[in-house]
Subunit: 327 residues, 2 copies
Amino acid sequence: MIRVGIYGYGNLGRGVEASVYKNSDMELVAVFTRRNPSDLIIKTKNVPVVSCNDVLAWREKIDVMIICGGSATDLPEQTPYLAKYFNVVDSFDTHAKIPEHFSNVDDCAKEAGKIALISAGWDPGMFSLNRLYASAVLPDGKDYTFWGKGVSQGHSDAIRRIDGVVDARQYTIPKEDALSRVRNGENPELSTRDKHLRECFVVVEEGADHKKIENEIKTMPNYFADYDTVVHFISAEELKLNHSGIPHGGFVIRSGNTGFNNENSHIIEYSLKLDSNPEFTASVIAAYARAIYKLSLEGVNGCKTVFDIAPSYLTAMSNEEIRAHLL
Amino acid sequence: MIRVGIYGYGNLGRGVEASVYKNSDMELVAVFTRRNPSDLIIKTKNVPVVSCNDVLAWREKIDVMIICGGSATDLPEQTPYLAKYFNVVDSFDTHAKIPEHFSNVDDCAKEAGKIALISAGWDPGMFSLNRLYASAVLPDGKDYTFWGKGVSQGHSDAIRRIDGVVDARQYTIPKEDALSRVRNGENPELSTRDKHLRECFVVVEEGADHKKIENEIKTMPNYFADYDTVVHFISAEELKLNHSGIPHGGFVIRSGNTGFNNENSHIIEYSLKLDSNPEFTASVIAAYARAIYKLSLEGVNGCKTVFDIAPSYLTAMSNEEIRAHLL
């Protein structure tokens, strides 16, 4: 059994708990929290909730620590620190800062002889893998990534900060026309506006100025100004009834040519349709936790990404089984 | 530059030649043939065509030999033999015999300190990878592989062997209804007949008995009897005009659930739409030839499959570049 610790118990931490439950070769041994441990009720029976302050006492009892903090401020601190004492996996997803995070974690893990994997999930993660495989196979081609239909937490939060807004849910939606052009091998140049639509469901205070709020949303720089944005005002009840899930997904498509005269074109498409963004992210993380565990037994150390892990490490099946049944 | 040899110059060998041309870190150094070398004109200028009998003279001049023979009788002989002298890649695709082929090649490669990769291509190959990744990420789920729309060489050949048939082209077509049910997460049990349709374009001799030939096709065991089969009789000109390409493709879909009560479902879909089956297969092989070359420099030996190769080995980009741009 692979002994797993969960560090941080928000949406992602709860997702990891559910994923460990689905993997019969893994067991959850502790959940670590910054909150008061006695205030936290977790789903798994007979597993202790422990204060983050006591984490080092668990060094010999955990094979892989899955760090479920946020990328903005938690993970840049937590992952390098914990990599000094544990094999770790995180889902760091600030794409622009990955090289810096990698380097920090690599230093700590190498010094401690531990192995770390950063940026597991679906983007970064499964989407990254598909961008790499597709570009290696079709070097003369063009990559497209579309996200959605799904809830963007960041955009929903941005709307909630507007005066008069009580709650909001924002969906990122890929534009069908852009998707079709890419799938047809047209290799289009697509602007931000061409690729995605933003649809917002907004609950406002009584007497709030709908026109003004709608305008504030649509003109918000970085978040909405560069997109076609649709705003619906709905009741709190309707939001709860129809928009309480956290679905997401998307598409990675590469269109490329082969032949001495580029005479043949090919489309590689990978897509995800997810009922629960955090549970799927957690499922990817669990598979990589297994890989990290196996590699730690081989004495491998330092920081890794999904690019560095041979696929066979992800599965509980033996190499003989996967060659016989999946190849 | 990675010095590549091509062993066998049929459709796949020509595809590999075109792929090497698309990869700026590779150069073709020789094509080996069982035919009389002077009878063979290849596309690349100033590259020698050499008799298979003289292949051992090229041991020091080739980094990776790409073996382009057929799986039925060529590769079971050629790959173990050549793995004694070269790093090799093949596209062995008889799924049921992969374990035996792996073992034979592994013995020869290990003894010689060479590295070999078998079964590169798209199925086995990219489809296998996607079956593995998806099953590792969603352990509680179900896999579906659909092929087509595309030309099946084996089925076309089977029709050509019927008395009175001059030429034929058979397309394997996934059934839309089955695809939709899988994409909807219904996890259906699908029979052979439910999944694929077989469409045949057949040219017959003058005065041939259409009814009889159509019946012979539709009732042919293994090839057609278990499928819904559509037969069209067309002229040789029409066959040449509309059916001379070798397109193919298909879908690998996994539908699975997460959550303590399976409350969330997820669909992972990978699909290929290929103008040229052999050129795309060759493109995958070229990327794995690069991986094999890099691993040989690290002193790795023995037989590998796509499951054993970390994705970073496939690309000409550095690890820093892929982390910065593709993760």
